[in-house]
Each structure stands twice: as C-alpha cells, then as structure tokens.
C-alpha cells in the first residue's frame, strides 16, 4: 500500500498542470499565509490592547473559548451559502478561525508579564506606550508566537476541509480521491497536508527560538531548574494556558 502511495506521489503526471502537486501545494500555502497575515493584523493589536489595558479580558476569554467549539465545516458551508463565492467565503472562514488563537496567545502573553516587572517599569517612569513596547511585547513573544503556530495549524487543516465548497489546495486530492475511492490519491493528499503542517510548525518553532529574547529563555530555564515543587494549582493555570496555546489546531 505504501508502494502505491509512493508511486502516486512520484508519478510525473501528478506534478504538472492546475491539478499538479506544486500548484495545489502553492494554493494551499497561499490561503494559509494570506489568512495568517490577516489574522495577525487583527489579533495582535487587539490582544495587546486588551492585555495592556486589562479591559474586556473576560469577554475575550469567553469569546475565544466559544470560537474554539465552532465547527469548521458548518462555518464554511454557512458562509458559502450567504456570500456565494468560494474564495471570499473561505478566506473569511479561515480568518475567523485563525484570529482566536492569535488573540488568545497575545493576550495571555501580555497578561503573563510578571506583576513585579510591570511595577518596576512604572516605577522607572515609563509611559504606557513604553511599557507596552519595551516590557510587555517582548514578554509576550513566546506565547504570541505559540498562538500564531496554532493558528497556522488550524489554517492548514481548515483549508483542507474547504475543498468541500470548491476551494483548491491539497484538500482536492483527499475529497476527489475519496469520491472515486482512489486510496493512494487520498492517502497521498493526506500525507502532503500533514507534511505541510509539520514543516510550517517546525519553521515557526525555529522562528520562535530566534525571536524570543534571550533573557526570557534564561529565565524560563532557571525557573524550570529551580522548580522544586510547584503548587498544583499554579501548574493548573500554566497547563490551561499551555493547552489553550496548543489546542484548536485541527479544523
């Protein structure tokens, strides 16, 4: 069976034309990137605002939690019937699903800034803007990037499902293959999607390493080494944040 999948993947006929692997891969990547950028443009400023001012935090957490339960296929079919165009409706659906993880990550990142550090910044006479840019944003980067990673995973998955309403991309192989029960095609499509998701996630993980300020990484290490016995309750909230940051990847 693996043999069949491999021979499907290596068949030159599947590497050219509008239904060829390069074109489908680029389409998939294109939708993912455009929607991710849009989601960042919306989610980051909003998350910073809410995190910095503390206004609307509760509403935001409730909203993002609710969005997590939103079924992708329902949203995509709903928007298609309302808006009519495959491209517009799916792009909106993609952005709608990608904003919450970005927003939640940004907000959690800002919130995560140790109280003492914020007080110290205020004590040093920093203005609100200075505090935001010099203290809270650097502090928020790890969780913010975590949010973006989730959003991207979510997007790769959702773009696959959106083939149902006629979108291009790698989901075509899965759905079209399923219709004629060409298992190698279906499996090859699924593998390509999974590979794309893993590669993008690794790239972003690498970026996370490069971007996250050195001081924060050091702090994290010391915290872990020194962590003799953390209170279960405290860990509880950590894990919620962690889980929330990891979760929601599968559209």
């Amino acid at each position: 069976m693996l043999q069949e999948i491999l021979s499907w993947l290596t068949d030159p006929a599947h590497w050219s034309g509008p239904d060829g692997i390069p074109h489908r891969l680029l389409e998939h990547l294109g939708y993912t990137v455009v929607a991710a950028l849009a989601a960042i443009a919306i989610g980051v400023p909003l998350g910073l605002f809410v995190g910095h001012t503390g206004r609307g935090g509760l509403a935001l957490v409730g909203l993002t939690n609710g969005m997590r339960a939103l079924p992708t296929l329902g949203l995509v079919t709903f928007l298609f019937l309302v808006l009519g165009s495959t491209q517009t409706s799916t792009l909106i659906a993609l952005v709608v699903l990608a904003v919450p993880p970005v927003l939640a990550g940004t907000y959690a990142g800002v919130q995560d800034t140790p109280r003492g550090v914020v007080d110290a910044a205020q004590g040093m006479g920093m203005t609100g803007w200075q505090r935001l840019w010099r203290v809270e944003v650097p502090n928020a980067t790890p969780l913010l990037l975590g949010g973006i990673r989730n959003a991207v995973l979510q997007l790769v998955a959702t773009t696959t499902v959106a083939a149902f309403v006629g979108l291009g991309g790698l989901g075509r192989y899965v759905l079209d293959g399923l219709r004629v029960y060409a298992y190698p095609k279906v499996a090859a499509g699924a593998l390509l999607v999974a590979a794309l998701a893993v590669v993008l996630d690794l790239l972003l993980a690498g970026l996370q390493r490069v971007i996250v300020p050195r001081g924060l990484r050091l702090a994290a290490v010391t915290r872990r080494r020194g962590g003799v016995a953390r209170e279960p309750e405290r860990v509880g909230t950590d894990v919620v944040a962690g889980a929330v940051a990891r979760e929601g990847a599968n559209g």
Binding site: P71, T72, V174, L178, V193, E233, V239
Partner: protein, 221 residues
C-alpha cells in the same frame, strides 16, 4: 430567517433527524474522550518515569497533533483495515488526538506532585502502583481536568468534519443543508455544536469539583 429556523425545527421529521444526529455526535465525541484519557494516563505515567520515553512520547504527541483531522479520518481505514464508513475511524482518530493532547498534562501533573507527599506515602508503605492510584493520580486531577476540558471542546467541534466521510453526527446537517442551499439546518447544527460543547464543559467542571474535595476547603479555587 428566524421564521425559517422555527419552521424547520417544528417539523417532526426534522426533529427526528436532528435528535439522531445529536446522539451520534455525543457518542462520537465522548467515547474518544474516555478512550484517549485511558490511554494517556499509562503513557504519561511511563513518560514521567523514563527520560528517553518522555522525549519520544512528547515529540510524537506534538507531531500527531499537527495532522489535520480529515487527513487522519481518511487514512485510518487503509492502515487498520476498517470499513470506510464505519464510525470506528472517527472514534479512533479522535481518541488519538485526545491521547496526544492529554499526555503532556498527565506528565506535568505527575511532576507537580510535591516530593514530600510522595515521600510520606512511600514511608507509609505505599508501593509505587498503589501510590500512583491513591495519591499521585487524585492530586493531578485539577491539571488533568483542564486538559480534558480542552479535548472535549476540540472533539465536539471536530466530529462534524466526519460528515465528509459519512460519519459526522451534526455535521450531516451542514453537508445536507449546503446541498439544497438551506441555511436553517446549518445554523441549527452550529448552535447545537456550541451548546453541546458548553454543556459538556460545565459537566466536566462539576466532575472536577466532585473529585477534588480538598480544593474547596481553602475556598480559593
């Protein structure tokens, strides 16, 4: 629009369908939650013991979690030889996600049990396994519960993708409504999915409270 929805909902034929799908949805999302948790506890326990195993398991869990659900749903029958339309494909796929999601919280939770508590239990003559079920596991409930809540919401929203392979609970309302350009079933499907997730979440919170009577003593939680 609201009128259309009311009209759709008031038809007994539609009610039958919707209830059927709702029941299916509940099973397809709940069973994996139980199975995934049952798998994650021993896996997490093993991982918290052996460092190499820990790295392998965590790495695998992370990769598994990046695989899009539709991809997993359609590949599974070929891997394990099940019928293409069998609910087992969806159940197994979601169980795998649940386990992948819960392994880390299990490990974290076990790590977080204070050393002196374990020392005390050992001194009282608890053997490792009994200590695990009597002391470590109960103490890890708050952390685990957080993970289970996330998995529950995630499962409930993922089930509907199964409609693309013929087993999707409420997801059938999306594909069916879509085909005849009819919004009410889609809207009802979305609303019921959200409601189901909310109710499950409240139940899980209640369950956690019941399982951690000590957390109420301080009144802080």
């Amino acid at each position: 629009m609201l009128g259309d929805i009311v009209q759709y909902l008031s038809d007994p034929f539609n009610q039958d369908r919707i209830l059927g799908y709702l029941g299916e949805h509940l099973q397809l999302s709940l069973l994996p939650l139980v199975i995934g948790l049952a798998a994650a506890i021993p896996l997490g326990w093993l991982a918290s013991r052996t460092r190499s195993l820990r790295l392998t398991l965590m790495g695998t869990a992370n990769v598994v979690y990046t695989i899009p659900s539709l991809a997993l749903f359609v590949v599974l029958p070929g891997l394990i030889g099940t019928q293409i339309t069998a609910p087992i494909n969806v159940i197994l796929a979601l169980s795998i996600y649940t386990a992948a999601l819960l392994v880390r919280p299990v490990v974290d939770a076990l790590d977080a049990v204070p050393g002196h508590v374990i020392a005390a239990a050992t001194a009282m003559g608890y053997r490792p396994l009994r200590r695990f079920f009597a002391v470590e596991l109960p103490l890890s409930v708050p952390v685990l519960a957080a993970g289970v809540r996330v998995a529950s919401v995630s499962n409930i929203s993922l089930v509907s993708v199964g409609a693309l392979i013929g087993t999707g609970g409420l997801g059938a309302l999306f594909t069916g409504g879509f085909q005849i350009r009819y919004l009410p079933p889609i809207i009802v499907g979305i609303a019921l999915t959200l409601l189901l997730a909310l109710v499950m979440d409240l139940l899980l919170v209640g369950l956690r409270r019941a399982l951690t009577p000590w957390s109420r003593v301080g009144g802080a939680h």
